[in-house]
């Protein structure tokens, strides 16, 4: 169906259902409980991030997972896309579609230029070339291209490019009647509009922006499945497998890798455009090398070269990043309040270094654990788990059959 094999189609349907029901799935704890305060992730900003970073890593996976070219500068395209979209909101109007389209176009052009040069080399030399281009973009965006005092203020430097009441917005309004900034919208539906659903103690939020991002993520995911299963995708895997044989089979590897690079650059630009559409401020930090590194981490965490891996990796990373950094001692005390005082204090002391200001430490340890024990990422972990469960149930079934047999005798 939809040109997918049965297995792929099933997976696609599962992802659709997960995206559609995310507001339920991510808010398992009743509103106001102390577990909800920490573990519920069903609020618009984080849900948007899940799907937007999902798009980013899906795109990165088309390059890295298929061709094996490790780009260490992918955040540059995210940043360029973000800036383009914000400029569109400043100049044209607050509808997100032109912004998103421009962000894809500009990121694509950027990727074409950087890819054309960087793909002249392979291996770590390619990685360093992409890293160098991205760091150049970051440094320039942070300083020279972002000086408010100059006439050429493309990025607004450290603060980040933001909307102003004085922006022209030729197709919209510069300022709303009550004197505030207009909000980003999709043909009139504001991205921050939400619909709250209350079920007993539970509260679920359905956010317009999230569903727009979700739909775009599903389209991106669908396209990525098609690419993986297409002759083009096979050629990309062939590039990763044996470039020499490619060349001696009459195939020019350069346009293949360049096309993959540009496609993944466009995905990154799209993600950047969506980030800006959800929150119209674009900061230069998005282009920093650590941001590029985070993309690589998400891809490997999820499982390189797998279809579903990027989504899992992005979700894992964003979830822990957001949740861990918000836990502080008073939250810990609240959680562990049911324990006797001595034990409570002891546990708080133990956990303290790993949460709040220590969230980097925990995340670093989690990365190491996943990478050491699950070389294939979370997808492999899931498969192992699945096999264990199905293995056990098969064993159980066999045992049950045996028992019934002996009972019959």
């Amino acid at each position: 169906m939809l040109g997918l094999t049965k297995k792929d189609f099933t997976m696609f349907i599962v992802v659709i259902v997960m995206v559609a029901l995310a507001p339920f799935l991510l808010n398992p704890f009743p509103q106001g409980s102390s577990l909800a305060q920490m573990f519920n992730a069903g609020y618009p900003d984080l849900m948007q991030r899940f799907v937007i970073f999902g798009i980013l890593v899906i795109g990165f996976n088309i390059l890295f997972g298929l061709t094996g070219y490790l780009s260490f500068g992918h955040a540059a395209f995210l940043g360029v896309g973000s800036y383009s979209a914000v400029w569109m909101f400043k100049l044209l109007g607050m509808n997100v579609i032109p912004g998103i389209l421009l962000s894809m176009v500009v990121a694509g052009i950027f990727a074409l230029a950087i890819g054309y040069v960087s793909l002249r080399r392979s291996g770590i030399y390619f990685s360093i070339l992409t890293l160098a281009f991205a760091q150049m973009s970051y440094n320039l965006a942070y300083s020279v291209l972002g000086n408010p005092a100059s006439n050429f203020n493309l990025t607004n430097g450290e603060t980040g490019l933001q909307l102003l009441l004085t922006d022209p917005r030729i197709l919209g309004q510069s300022t709303t009647p009550d004197g505030s900034l207009p909000v980003t919208n999709f043909f009139g539906i504001a991205m921050r509009d939400s619909y709250d659903l209350r079920m007993g103690d539970w509260l679920f939020t359905f956010n317009a922006g999230y569903y727009l991002c979700g739909v775009i993520m599903l389209i991106s995911f669908y396209i990525s499945i098609r690419i993986f299963r297409s002759p083009f995708g096979m050629m990309l895997r062939a590039v990763k497998s044996n470039q020499q044989r490619m060349n001696y089979t009459g195939l020019n590897t350069k346009p293949y890798t360049l096309a993959a690079f540009v496609i993944s650059g466009i995905y990154a630009g799209l993600a950047g455009g969506l980030l800006s559409s959800m929150d119209p401020l674009a900061g230069a930090e998005r282009m920093h090398w650590t941001a590029s590194g985070e993309i690589v981490i998400m891809a490997i965490l999820g499982g390189v070269g797998t279809l579903i891996g990027p989504i899992l990796g992005a979700g894992f990373n964003e979830y822990f990043k957001n949740i861990l950094s918000k836990i502080n001692d008073s939250v810990l005390h609240q959680w562990l309040g049911f324990l006797p005082d001595g034990i409570e204090d002891f546990l708080v002391t133990i956990i303290h270094p790993f949460v709040g200001k220590g969230w980097h430490l925990t995340l670093g340890l989690l990365f190491m654990i996943v990478i050491i024990f699950l070389p294939g990422g979370l997808v492999q972990g899931g498969q192992k788990l699945g096999r264990k469960i199905s293995g056990r149930s098969r064993r159980d079934a066999a045992k049950a059959a045996e028992q019934s047999k002996s009972a019959a005798e």
Partner: protein, 253 residues
């Protein structure tokens, strides 16, 4: 006028004259072997033919057109396929996929952005690939991971991949190197079959005299970067120069 004409080709690496004024003419539909002791320049010559190296001077004409200055993939598209000493296949891909790639290259050229169709829906390509697998007696292995094939199967697969492009000239670089006797004989049989069934020219670089004399119609002997003699196998066997340059060395070794 042969299908491949090599004229006065010279190649130097620093102070070393790897090829000195090599001349070679390969007749269409023939099986032509190039032999010579280690360091005679066989690999260098082969690399000059497929675009991996650029000769310093001289010309290489394939079917009247110069191949010099073209990239390996362009030369392949002209109709020259190369089989490597150690089988070069796509180890991460399945056997069928390995076979499909040259079929795409034959039909769609050096680049095709065919990203939205499912490759298994392309019946024409799949059938062609499966047909070639049957011809190579590998149909039952088509869903195997190609890296897990035996060395002999890898060689068959590679040759099959080259043939599925329907090349006019097939270059084989020591195709039986490192093979057991049985595999070697299988390969010889396979190449004989190919020669009989297909409208193809074969150039084979080989160490193993058994292979050379069972296949070749003409033989060129290369020594110290120059073509010593070119003749039929029978004549070559008794040629004094060859004995001196080639067999003399093998005796010493």
């Amino acid at each position: 006028m042969g299908i491949l004409e090599v004229k006065n080709v010279n190649k130097r690496f620093g102070g070393l004259q790897a090829l000195g004024d090599v001349n070679l003419s390969i007749a269409e539909h023939s099986v032509h072997a190039i032999i010579g002791p280690n360091g005679a320049g066989k690999s260098t010559l082969l690399n000059c033919l497929v675009g991996k190296l650029m000769p310093d001077t001289g010309s290489v004409l394939f079917d009247g057109q110069s191949v010099l200055g073209r990239k390996p993939y362009q030369i392949n598209q002209m109709g020259i396929s190369r089989v490597f000493q150690t089988p070069e296949i796509f180890g991460d891909l399945s056997v069928l996929e390995n076979m499909m790639i040259p079929c795409f290259a034959k039909r769609d050229g050096s680049f095709g952005l065919n990203a939205m169709t499912n490759m298994l829906d392309d019946r024409e390509i799949v059938e062609r690939a499966e047909h070639m697998l049957e011809e190579m007696n590998m149909a039952d292995k088509r869903h195997m991971h190609s890296a897990s094939l035996s060395r002999g199967d890898k060689r068959r697969l590679e040759i099959g991949m080259c043939l599925s492009q329907e090349p006019r000239l097939l270059l084989l670089d020591e195709p039986t190197a490192g093979m057991a006797r049985a595999d070697t004989n299988n390969t010889i049989d396979l190449l004989k079959q190919i020669k009989d069934k297909r409208d193809i020219t074969i150039v084979i670089i080989e160490h193993d005299m058994h292979v050379v004399f069972s296949l070749a119609e003409r033989i060129t002997v290369l020594a110290q970067g120059t073509a010593l003699v070119e003749d039929t196998p029978d004549k070559i066997k008794g040629h004094p120069k060859v004995r001196e340059a080639y067999l003399g060395e093998t005796q010493a070794a």
